[in-house]
């Protein structure tokens, strides 16, 4: 009965002070919505990077010559030639955690077919390459181990290369093309993959047996890279350790010497890029926190001022018999109603903004539950506290002092 009366009083007061209610709610709505939307953008970009990398083969392990270049130290040319075919064989024989492995050499050049030419990159690999990179074929077939052995002049090409050297739509499989003036027979077309997160066109590739590329195009004996695939994602760290040990042994490195090669799993790559987008998220969180703070100060301000303004009203309510606790309850209920309504509207607006950003700006977004909870909690608590605190002060006054308040 008593609570019902207080609810009625609070409801009437809210309706009576439409502008104040609206302004307070607006502060809460914008505070909550902006935090949710900003964090959704941050989380979304992080997630999209993770998915792209995973789709490139999350079990993948790459071995490159030269020490880890993450430090940015310049490598001298000889160390870039330290990866040999024997290393590949050693790893293939000794590592127990790998399911596929291929040597890799690569070079750039012109793809020519008739009057059309197109600059691209040729990758020399073995047939396991397709399994490691999780690539499929649109048409034709992969070259065989026999063709690798014989250094056959056969290639598979990506869709971008197809589009540029066969612009008239003829079937590429079976056609002859030239790469740096060396004739190759096209035996297959790779499935289209599009751009990755970093804007690289994954379809702008030519794939040939590594033996062919080594001998006929690059005239080198070393490898540019070894790519492998761990049996499972969980095996990847163990695979990295194994490969490192095998290569150190192969290269006869003393304990005091650093690796003259680098082994990286996709997981590491993910964490590297995630940490970049982590920075982005931190930045967005910082901006969101500031907007939450400003929103909070706004809420605080308007609540504080409006309660102060109503000191006279508080005095009158006490003069006609309202107890301090009644007054406090009324203001608390008012603050709760305003804050919760504002918070809910803020969440709705934030989610709508996120959908809008995803749909019309095509930015990846992902709404984090914690952003909803934190922003809602901060705004609601601020609103409720600053609705309650000045009321508590006013309710502690003698009625006549409150009534006299100007």
């Amino acid at each position: 009965m008593r609570l019902l009366n207080l609810l009625k009083i609070a409801y009437k007061a809210i309706v009576l002070n439409k502008v104040r209610t609206l302004l307070t709610m607006l502060g809460i709505i914008i505070g909550v919505a902006s935090v949710i939307a900003m964090l959704a953008i941050g989380e979304g970009s992080k997630e999209s990077i993770r998915t792209t990398i995973s789709s490139m083969g999350s079990n993948m392990i790459t071995i490159r010559p030269g020490a880890d270049v993450r430090g940015g130290v310049r490598q001298d040319a000889s160390t870039m030639e330290s990866l040999k075919f024997d290393d590949y064989l050693a790893i293939k024989e000794q590592a127990t955690t790998l399911s596929y492995i291929t040597p890799m050499v690569n070079g750039s050049g012109q793809v020519i077919s008739g009057a059309n030419n197109w600059p691209s990159t040729i990758y020399g690999v073995n047939p396991e390459y397709l399994d490691i990179k999780v690539l499929g074929l649109q048409s034709g077939s992969m070259f065989t181990d026999a063709e690798v052995k014989s250094a056959s002049k056969v290639v598979l090409i990506g869709q971008t290369v197809v589009d540029n050297v066969f612009p008239d739509g003829e079937e590429p499989v079976g056609q002859m093309i030239r790469f740096n003036n060396i004739p190759f027979k096209v035996i297959g077309v790779l499935e289209e993959k599009g751009e990755n997160t970093f804007g690289q066109d994954q379809d702008d590739v030519v794939i040939a047996p590594y033996t062919t590329v080594q001998k006929r195009i690059l005239a080198i004996t070393y490898l540019n890279q070894i790519m492998a695939s761990a049996i499972s994602e969980e095996d990847a760290p163990e695979a990295v350790t194994q490969v490192t040990a095998i290569l150190r042994d192969q290269h006869k490195l003393a304990d005091s010497e650093d690796d003259d090669f680098s082994v990286r799993s996709m997981e590491e790559l993910i964490s590297t890029f995630s940490s970049t987008s982590e920075m982005l998220t931190i930045l967005l969180v910082a901006v969101a926190s500031i907007s939450l703070l400003i929103g909070g100060i706004g809420i605080m301000n308007i609540m504080y001022v409006s309660v102060k303004e109503r000191t006279k009203e508080i005095g009158l309510r006490m003069a006609v018999g309202g107890k301090g606790s009644d007054i406090l309850m009324q203001f608390l209920i008012e603050a709760i109603l305003i804050s919760i309504t504002g918070g809910v509207l803020g969440v709705i607006l934030g989610l709508s903004a996120t959908v809008f950003i995803e749909k019309f700006l095509h930015w990846p977004t992902s709404v984090a539950m914690y952003s909803i909870i934190i922003s809602f909690a901060v705004c609601a608590v601020t609103g409720i506290f600053f609705g309650w605190y000045p009321a508590r002060k006013a309710a502690a006054l003698d009625p006549i002092t409150a009534l006299r308040y100007e």
Partner: protein, 247 residues
């Protein structure tokens, strides 16, 4: 002898403003018996409002004794004071103090909202009744800004009546009204007084005092006169004597 409803002894009220101290009441003693109609007179600044606020439990004296119905107010908690204000006292402010943008009926209902013994229907009924008594039955949905000063004053009076108080304290309740309206109000107060309600009425108009049974005169925070009225005028008959005016 009738029951002493109010008893004050050596009551003092000081206001401190910075370094200066204003002595608004400098030691006042008197008693009011149940059923009396007392007018408090005195020039502006003599301490009338200050005293009435203390009698209405809206303010606390700096020193001295105040007993209401035999209970010392000093010993009461804030909540107990609120209950007394809610159930025993009807207070009429000099400046009405109505809730803005709130209808007359809701303003009158306000004290009953804080009394959980009164149901919603009862509350509405009593508020309507009180508004009828002050002649505002046709204005119940008007907000203060849609009412004249006199009508607002009458809403404030209705609000003071709605809780069936034991005593009514009025601070210049007729101060803003024309003669006719103030006589109407006074006749209403006389009727209420006949029903046994004790009334303490602050005014600075001598003719208003003639409707009461006792007059206390304040000057500079002291009581300078306190006398019983032997010749009480009837506000109703004075009203009848006034020249008729068309509404």
């Amino acid at each position: 002898m009738a029951k002493e409803i109010i008893k004050i002894q050596d009551l003092k009220r000081e206001f401190t403003m910075g370094t200066e101290t204003v002595h608004a009441l400098k030691g006042i003693s008197f008693t009011i018996e149940e059923g009396q109609f007392v007018t408090i007179m005195g020039s502006s600044g003599s301490g009338k409002s200050t005293m009435l606020n203390i009698l209405g439990c809206l303010d606390q004296p700096t020193s001295g004794l105040y007993e209401i119905d035999g209970v010392s107010v000093k010993d009461l908690s804030k909540n107990e004071l609120a209950t007394i204000r809610n159930e025993k006292i009807g207070f009429i402010f000099q400046s009405y103090n109505l809730l803005a943008r709130t209808s007359a009926i809701e303003n009158v209902e306000l004290p009953l909202l804080y009394n959980s013994k009164v149901s919603t229907e009862e509350r509405r009924k009593r508020a309507l009744n009180a508004l009828e008594m002050v002649g505002l039955a046709d204005r119940i949905h008007h907000t203060p800004s849609q009412l004249s000063g006199g009508q607002q004053q009458r809403v404030a009076i209705a609000r003071s009546l709605v809780n069936n108080p034991v005593m009514i304290l009025a601070d210049e309740a007729t101060g803003n009204l024309d003669t006719r309206t103030s006589y109407e109000i006074m006749s209403l107060f006389q009727e209420l007084n006949k029903k046994g309600i004790t009334i303490t009425f602050v005014t600075h108009e001598p003719d208003i005092a003639t409707f009461s049974s006792r007059t206390v005169v304040l000057k500079d925070g002291h009581i300078i006169k306190d006398y019983m009225n032997t010749n009480i005028q009837s506000a109703a008959s004075e009203l009848a004597k006034l020249p008729k005016e068309d509404h």
